[in-house]
Symmetry: C2
Subunit: 472 residues, 2 copies
Amino acid sequence: MTITGDVMEDFSQWFHSILEEAKIIDSRYPIKGMSVWLPKGFKIRKYVLRELERLMDKDHDEVLFPLLIPETELAKEGIHVKGFEEEVYWVTHGGMKELNEKLAIRPTSETAIYPMFSLWIRSHIDLPIKVYQTVNTMRYETKHTRPLIRVREITTFTESHTVHETYEQASQQVQDGIAIYKRLFDILAIPYLVHDRPSWDKFPGAEYTFAFDTLMRDGKTLQVGTVHNLGDTFAKTFDIKYEAADGDHRHPYQTCYGLSDRVIASLIAIHGDEKGLVLPPLVAPTQVTIIPIIFKDGAEDVLYKANEIKDILKDGGFRVSIDNRDLRAGKKYYDWELNGIPIRIDIGPRDLKNNKMIITRRDTFTKEECSLSEDIVSNLNSCLSKINTNLKEKAWNFMREHVVEIDSSDKIEEIVLNGNVGLIKWCGGYDCGKEIEDKTNLDILGVQGEAKGECINCNKNAKHTISIAKTY
Amino acid sequence: MTITGDVMEDFSQWFHSILEEAKIIDSRYPIKGMSVWLPKGFKIRKYVLRELERLMDKDHDEVLFPLLIPETELAKEGIHVKGFEEEVYWVTHGGMKELNEKLAIRPTSETAIYPMFSLWIRSHIDLPIKVYQTVNTMRYETKHTRPLIRVREITTFTESHTVHETYEQASQQVQDGIAIYKRLFDILAIPYLVHDRPSWDKFPGAEYTFAFDTLMRDGKTLQVGTVHNLGDTFAKTFDIKYEAADGDHRHPYQTCYGLSDRVIASLIAIHGDEKGLVLPPLVAPTQVTIIPIIFKDGAEDVLYKANEIKDILKDGGFRVSIDNRDLRAGKKYYDWELNGIPIRIDIGPRDLKNNKMIITRRDTFTKEECSLSEDIVSNLNSCLSKINTNLKEKAWNFMREHVVEIDSSDKIEEIVLNGNVGLIKWCGGYDCGKEIEDKTNLDILGVQGEAKGECINCNKNAKHTISIAKTY
């Protein structure tokens, strides 16, 4: 079997096919929208989480809250519950018995966490609180589901929750959250646009929402992360109060921000090609594969050298393997490509004689001869770093080329449906914004910056430059 | 606040108190039997899982299956579902809509995983399969719940599932599973008895079950791990078949084995004392705390040296912190004890002059002077290793002293209720075994070895030495 579907022409088929062929997940699980993480996919997930945790652990504490939320808690915050009531899975029975109170499987954990915050927070010295957890959450999606992108079980939801004395500190935390996510996306070579979501698309209960959007190869944007300023809305609802230094009792201000399986989806979707995965080195389960080219003569020497190189690289901190399966080289190359291993090393008897090995990069397929006397570790480290830079540049260039200024409302649909994010000028009016969306059947992603001139729709004074796109 | 309850006299109160005081979990979550992992507890959990994963990853693949199981799959294996039907949480609604089919929250994942195995396995070259996952599972416990010990959400269930061509290979895997768990418990200094569970207490659907039991300070045993040989029962139920080398199609043989939050419960319960946690070094969130003894004179020099020691230890791979809070030393010592940090280093101006520091062990409270010119890293490494050995010996000695041979049936209750595991001789008969349990109101843990002589209950020929105990 090979990957079916062209990355550009039939992205959806290609994405489904690569998940299957590269054994990332198995979507044949007998419940719609729920899939199995296979060993290879799980490893990518693990390394992505490791990078995220490294960033988070600098000034957040990791915690773990229960899966289930009592109906009374979920229902407390009116706007919030309204936003999720169509999507919540309800547990109604324990064994043969009906429960006294229905329990919601968390769609997100504000209403699980904030009642505990109200117990934890007494004084200003308890603040700030910055915690995060990586958990499974559930959403009863009625739309068409799609592995890792639109699922009913989000298996990898890393949600952060912070509490601060003042609104300003919460606003600053929103910026800090954005900065952390930018660093993660840079590590993963995922390009992003950060949008201040329009009021009708913010997180239910939030003051405002910043969202990270990236662009898939089919021209549709994918929301891959969100950062919310919650103001003191939830603090009031859940009766969270602290005694300030001046003795006053006040409600603190909160933020929350989260990432999901979609980070891994975009990682795969953005870098992959017709031959398979192309993985950023830091999250590749195997970073280097060594393929010994074996003939009858000198096989032992080649294997010995291959193992020696493996040991040197392992000691140097690389995730490295030798492919010494009894298969022809073509099949091994095929697997190397499919699995997106950043670097392939070929070494045969002739190379040995010439004291060299051949390094091939998965991202460019360029080959390089490398002396065996040189510092292999430092050579390969610099090669991995070049790969990351190249992946990042390529991906950013692709996205930048597809962000297009549009100055006339009758061109919006054509340009966007041609695979672009449109930049348009907008007056900032709610009705006008909704009208743009309705007319074009597209989504306003939010504000990217200030604007002068005329609103593209109502011709009033423009306030913002906003992005408009077809979204997942 | 301090820890209430004496470890030996009022173990239950002590255990509850230490979880609260040392901020391991918060059990005030508004659903019975579900708790929050606090930052410190979460770190211990993380390091325990790290050790377990290190052992598992040697020849298992980590995977992740969905949380929910369709009713039809759960119900397929009759004996299995019978064992869990009283305990399963049922999801019946998605949003406002009733689901077409009820979904069970996994109580354990056989019926989630094995339908996929039937898709994955075609030929003998697909075998063996050895996978594991760490997930949250749910059991609707009707008994009295107890944090980390008897819970409704098992937050940390590491379950392994393997598939083999032959029954013998599955039996061997059971032994391999036992060996892995023994290594983990040794790392955690948790003593154990391995029992072949009686037929009426094996895993629902298994051929036989080996279980790890450890002894709590109150004389009750706690099951901390199980390893099951499933034979081909599930393979038949879920239509798992492979084509053997000879072309025949056969059902493979399976095993499964699991550990839960109880590993962390026993870690805390077995080593802790009236002053707080005592943690095995490998899983201690902080392994060394440095307390600079500050007076007006020479404070700068002391802090400089303390930081230097910290850096040396950090580079040496220790998890180390400096407690330079503006508090009196007594409060810092109190926290050091409560948090179970294996090693405390005191360093003051007089020590500096004498070119030494004082090392205090949390497990024994013994102090040692240590020259600052010596190799600190190797000194402390050997100290940590001594701590682990001591914890292990102490815990094993306590358990061994409380495993008592009993030769007369009228002594069983008295001896066991006095805080011991009783060793008795048994004929092996089902009715006789159940009679022993009924008469004494105790539990037979299972077979420990062969026996000669008379059954303690029916006086027939004894076959086995079995353990009898009060259990959690």
